[in-house]
Amino acid sequence: MRERVPDDIVEDILGQLPVKSLTRFRCVSKSCNSIITGTTFINKHLKLNLNQCESLISTNTRSGYLLYATKDKNSSSLCTVVCNNDRTLTQVSWFEMPSFFDECNIVDFCNGLFCLASYEKELCHIIYLWNPSVRMFKKLLATPFTDKDTRHTTSVMGLAYNSQNNDFKILRIVTVLDGQEAEAEIYSLSADSWRRFFREIMLPPNSLDGVRGYFGELALFKGSLAVFIISNEHQGILCHIWFMKEYGVAESWTKKYRVQTDWLCNGDFFGCTNNGELLIKNDTGLVSIDPESQNQNILAIEDANWLAFSANSMESLVLLDGGFLSSQIVTVISSDFGHIV
């Protein structure tokens, strides 16, 4: 009689498969279904994916991925491209975004999950978590701020993964009256609940002295927290970039660059790549700018209303219990698991 492969080895083999195959193999047997949907396996699979992407970047095989969203008259879609070392882009996947996401914009993404919300509607009160790899989503309701005067309020959101307790968290901050008041809350996916909290991080001291008419952006720049203060001064539009050398320590803010940013006129800022280039959409189109050399590279992407850089290819098995999207159109041109052997 033919001997069976032991269960732990079957699990090791499954751990190396892409999400589409794993979703299908849930139908193999009850035990397979239970392995593939188990938290331990999902986390192991994610970590393997992240490690492999990291090693590809560190061996200079590739520079990471760009994700962008485009909208045509019928629908919105999410595309992922690989940044090759010669600056060309190769498409990896394309997902159609569900139609009820039309009112929302992507606000953040992390390890294969996307967070969408509508800035106009009640300051991101309605939030969606979306995992395009398994075509599942979940609708969340944050605290509505209907009792405040919404003309002078803004809200920001971020999505992050806590690898210590394998949980996804959403941070939502609503500020009132030009930043004099702020309320923050954190959502935990594993607990499916919101919790209010307060944490202050001081901005760079004297960073706003003598500056009129500015706006600021927070981003991750080469692994550190950075503040971009963009102001309209008599020399033109300037962008001051400050780094926080030691996270949480206000004294460690260091002014790094001061850049002439005419390219930010009528532009949108979309964060940074892992080698410190700024992703901007301006009159030229979609560009990545190196703040040191001030070189502007035009990206081979026709149009996008949202753009971001990611070090990994973002396939995730994480299940969301809000619902399935059976009619979502998907094209996956190359599964990034092809590099295993």
Binding site: R4, D12, Q16, S21, V28, K30, S31, G338
Partner: protein, 126 residues
């Protein structure tokens, strides 16, 4: 550690775990590993050549042999090869491959297949 198990293999008279054919594939691997350990690319090429003519079903025997011999590198390599081989295969193929049977309640399996119909697109024919 590896060599202790090999000795035990040769001492066992009726050994069903490792047939002769498999032994000639798996056992030379440690030596080869030691010789070209530094050069990953060369090892990859050697491994590809080794498995070029091996049918996927034979891989389960190789896995069992490598597992019995406690040979981690070979086991890892065979598992990676299997993962690549079954990636685009059907549910039935995977069941046969691993010797598994469907133990779902009536209707359960159909429900899952329907929910994830998209994952069945473009699958290789059996």
């Amino acid at each position: 550690m590896k060599f202790c198990t090999v000795k035990q293999y040769f001492d066992d008279e009726n050994n069903n775990n490792v047939t002769n054919g498999i032994a000639t594939t798996v056992i030379p691997l440690p030596n080869k590993h030691l010789k070209i350990k530094a050069n990953n690319k060369e090892m990859e090429q050697y491994e590809q050549e080794l498995l070029r003519n091996v049918m996927p079903q034979e891989l389960t025997k190789l896995i069992l042999a490598a597992n019995y011999l406690n040979f981690k590198e070979a086991l890892d390599f065979f598992c990676r090869t299997v993962a690549n081989a079954i990636q685009n295969k059907s549910v039935d193929y995977v069941r046969k491959f691993f010797g598994l049977e469907s133990d779902f309640e009536p209707g359960e399996e159909e429900k899952l297949c329907k929910e994830f119909a998209w994952s069945f697109e473009g699958v290789d024919e059996d």
